[in-house]
């Protein structure tokens, strides 16, 4: 039920007093409600849950975490490491 999938915003528009938009789920386009992410911009990625964007994904935070994982990964791959 709490399934949320990342998607890229391709269009933002006002419709029936709601902030709506089109998002791209890796090739599949869908109309969603953007009212809960008024700060979101076209090109940004958002998490979509039951037709609503609930969070704008933070590129910097994502990179920082991936860098930390890369360190663990290279440490684990060193020959002779446990």
């Amino acid at each position: 039920m709490c399934l949320s999938i990342p998607a890229r915003i391709t269009e933002i528009k006002q419709q029936d007093s709601l902030l709506m938009g089109m998002v791209d789920f890796g090739g599949v386009l869908k109309e969603v409600c953007l009212d809960y992410v008024p700060e979101a911009k076209v090109g940004q990625y958002v998490l979509i849950h039951v037709g609503f964007a609930i969070s704008v994904l933070d590129e910097e935070e994502a990179q920082e975490r991936l860098n930390l994982i890369r360190e663990i990964e290279s440490f684990e791959e060193e020959p002779g490491s446990a």
Binding site: G26, D35, Y36, V37, P38, A62
Partner: protein, 366 residues
Amino acid sequence: MKYVDEYRDPAKVRGLLGEIDEQVTRPWVLMEICGGQTHAFLHHGLDEMLPGGIELVHGPGCPVCVTPLEQIDKALAIATRPDVIFTSYGDMLRVPGSTMDLFNIRANGGDVRVVYSPLEAIRIAETSPEKQVVFFAIGFETTAPPNAMAVLQAKQRGIKNLSVLVSHVCVPPAMEAILSSKTNRVQAFLAAGHVCAVMGYHEYPAITEKYKVPIVVTGFEPVDLLVGVLAAVRQLEAGKAEVQNAYERAVTFEGNQTAQNVMNTVFQPVDRKWRGIGMIPQSGLGLRPEFEAFDAEKRFSVGELVTQESPLCIAGEILQGIKKPPQCAAYGNQCTPQSPLGAPMVSAEGTCAAYYRYHRELVPNG
């Protein structure tokens, strides 16, 4: 796909598994709250790749599973009415009520429709003014703001033929109920990342302080899950009990305040019964008095119903992480996804359904 592929990278998964293995010196019991995470762990086989000392127990984070039988029976009573179009998320249709499910109602001519978004229920109400449209508003804090928006829109647009049958539940009271139980085995929580995307994690420091268990906000992809496990294990091994965010790209401490504001405008905390577990004080959300006109229970005066749960089903113990599905006598024989006795065998997030799908070797004669 960005934000998906890099979190399914086998090299990263191997690296994290190796690091977890190095950290573990003794057995630990971790609970992932969310049923989506349970399915992801089992789907990717991560539960079997973790070091033997780490046991995952599966939490109550499956809204379909914990929606009380009374609410299902009320849904069934409302959906049978000829003047009603009953709309619901798809998962709810096969959840057994006392005597039948929503699919049976549909097979008998009832107008039961699956919606992907609560805004679809609004559209149906606008295009079917001669009908009463009822939306089954279930879910945790992730789903409450979208459902709240449907109610708010109905009020603002003067849509009179829409009402909601509300059965919302909240995560933190359930975590406290698990930790307070005499049978509790949980030593650390992986908190549900998408609930936290909405709510943040400001509610958790009080829990870690009171019960001395680490809580790690965790995402849903294999790499995210292992980052969460690693953070929890590091804390446990160091004797710490802190709140940590391991899903930084989607979750902030405060959460999504715009969503929380709408949720709090429409809903207020109420006592809520959890199917299989029982009453947990202030663990649910109900409509505020200003939105009472949209309450399907009042509009159709369904009242109190006599309910009957299967005596064989041990869903309550499953949902609290006390037992696992293969320990249930009915699992895989009297109870299967095709013919479920309890909700955890139905839902795409139910623990029993996850075991049935991914651990067939544990099914009797499977």
